[in-house]
């Protein structure tokens, strides 16, 4: 096992940041810690790195490759940490930043100047910043800074790579490119990595495994496909993409959506792409709603509707399907869910 966290608690005053967290991160995987802000994901990452203390409880431990690292100094843990806002040394050049971890080595680990130069040059080539080694951080773009921060962390040949919101401060386009680049890099060097994100798309696209966190505990762990298609809770379903909440009853094996919120109503969660819109509904399997807005700029057609109680409904469909029916704003159509999910517990979206 790469990283193992056992029964970790953390409180800030009266706020519980982490509530008895345990998790395992297998060797060689790229794992996402996904959750809204305040869910404890960054705190957990910092505790793994040793930057934050945790409350020692019953049987709590942190293991790297099956060895406890609790009590080890941060430097001894040898994790590469990439900070959200890069935390590059502002008075040092790109070269000096990347060389830092090699230059502060003492005693037997000391390496020669030539060897440092060779390794740093290699890393600069890896992050595609050849020719920029003598620039200062404020002369670089956000994406370039992030790559320098990554190279600096890789320079110490870390056991693991921990990344705190690695793409959080970048604009959408740079984020896309850097995301793919990081995934390719990971496939190349196979370094066990954990990254924190609040962006579900980023987590699903990039990670081998996703750990969904909420309010200091883990909601669900699994592959992107598992957590997206088989969410264990309403929170996970809601957080991993937009979702509609319909009310109805099950009558003779069929769901009757009457959208009233009376007692004994069940809650049905439906993804926007798992809804059919039909002009007429002879079997009465859906419920009527009025089209409010149609958004066609994008790879799919997005349609917003509202039912008789002015509750909003979001539907997504392919452009082909949209053209088939020629829907217009103001049309009244029937909403027919093709797949519904029901959760036991109560969760308010």
């Amino acid at each position: 096992m790469g990283i193992e966290v056992k029964n970790i608690n953390k409180r800030f005053g009266k706020f519980t940041a982490l509530d008895n967290i345990s998790l395992k991160i297998p060797d060689g995987e790229l794992v996402a810690l996904l959750g809204p802000s305040g869910s404890g994901k960054t705190t957990l990452l910092r505790i793994i790195a040793g930057l934050e203390e945790f409350e020692a409880g019953y049987n709590s431990d942190i293991l790297f490759k099956n060895q406890s690292v609790v009590g080890n100094r941060i430097a001894e843990r040898r994790v590469g940490f990439v900070f959200q806002h890069y935390a590059l040394f502002r008075h040092q050049t790109v070269f000096e930043n990347i060389a830092f971890g090699l230059r502060v080595r003492r005693g037997v680990n000391r390496i020669s100047r030539a060897e440092i130069k060779r390794r740093v040059d290699e890393l600069i080539h890896l992050i595609q910043l050849d020719g920029m080694e003598s620039r200062y951080p404020d002369q670089l773009s956000g994406g370039q800074r992030q790559r320098v921060a990554l190279a600096r962390a890789l320079a110490i040949e870390p056991k693991f790579l921990l990344l705190d919101e690695p793409f959080g401060a970048l604009d959408a386009r740079v984020r896309q490119n850097l995301r793919r680049w990081l995934r390719r890099l990971h496939d190349e060097i196979k370094l066990t990595s954990v990254f924190v994100t609040h962006d579900q798309e980023e987590a699903l696209e990039l990670a081998d495994r996703v750990i969904v966190m909420n309010a200091g505990h883990i909601e669900q762990e699994g592959t992107p496909v598992e957590v997206f298609h088989h969410p264990k809770s309403a929170f996970v379903m809601d957080f991993l993409g937009s979702v509609n909440l319909f009310h109805g009853r099950v009558v003779a094996g069929q769901i009757v959506f009457d959208q009233s919120t009376d007692v004994k109503q069940e809650k049905f969660f439906v993804r926007p792409h798992e809804i059919e819109l039909v002009p007429t509904d002879p079997q009465n399997v859906g419920f009527p709603a009025k089209i409010r807005r149609i958004q066609l700029a994008g790879s799919i057609a997005k349609i917003e509707l509202s039912d008789h109680s002015e509750k909003e409904i979001f539907v997504e469909m392919s452009h082909e399907k949209y053209l088939l029916h020629k829907f217009k704003v103001g049309d009244t159509v029937s909403v027919v869910p093709t797949n519904t999910v029901v959760f036991e517990e109560d969760y308010v979206i």
Binding site: I74, F81, R90, F100, G101, V104, R152, I156
Partner: protein, 273 residues
Amino acid sequence: MKNISTPWTSRIVPTLLVGTTFLFVAFFLVLPLISIFAEALHKGVAAYFNSFKDQYAWSAIRLTLVTAAIAVPLNIVFGVMAAWCIAKFEFWGKSVLITLIDLPFAISPVIAGLVFVLAFGQRTALGSWLLAHDIKIIYAVPGIVLATIFVTFPFVARELIPLMQEQGTLEEEAAVTLGAGGWDVFWRVTLPNIKWGLLYGIILCNARAMGEFGAVSVVSGHIRGETNTMPLYIETLYASYSTVAAFSIATLLAALALVTLVAKSVIEWREKY
């Protein structure tokens, strides 16, 4: 495009404010400065240089330099240490420490001097013990140095605390994850980030250390050739109607002030670009 011109009435207030400020500065700062040099030179250049031939003048200059040479380095060390722990760590009693650092600013320098006289004077147990062992602090050089350190203590720390707080601890954290020990973190990351602020604090600290009058006056005893610093010596000369000599020595302190101002502007400019 339409030419937008401000009506003359709205230009009155800014002009008035700026004009008043310049007048104020000229009257209270520039005029006295010029008068120092005028008074020092009003009996000719020969008389001006004659003032420095006096052996007491030289001993006063020497004592001032020695005092600053001890007080400033010590306060650099104390100031950096205090600012480092206040800005980078959370601990119990932090606000008390910040208040204590400001204490020398808050109390009159004369009181500061008196505190040392009371603490080390002959009437206290500590004072009589020191007397018995023939260690002189009050009315001697150690007292002057102590009083100067006390009065100039806040300059470096006060300059660094806001700067270090603004810079946060992220770079230090990054350095630690890369394997750096405390020493490397300080010399390679923290110090380079604060160097201009630190230099600024040192310059202000030095100017005050050389110019301090009140606290030093109380602990010195005004012994000519022994415990007279430059400001004290100037006062002694002035009180004995040696106006030219008094103003001549004063030109040195005034020149120090001017050099300090220039250095300060250069540093501020460097910090910006």
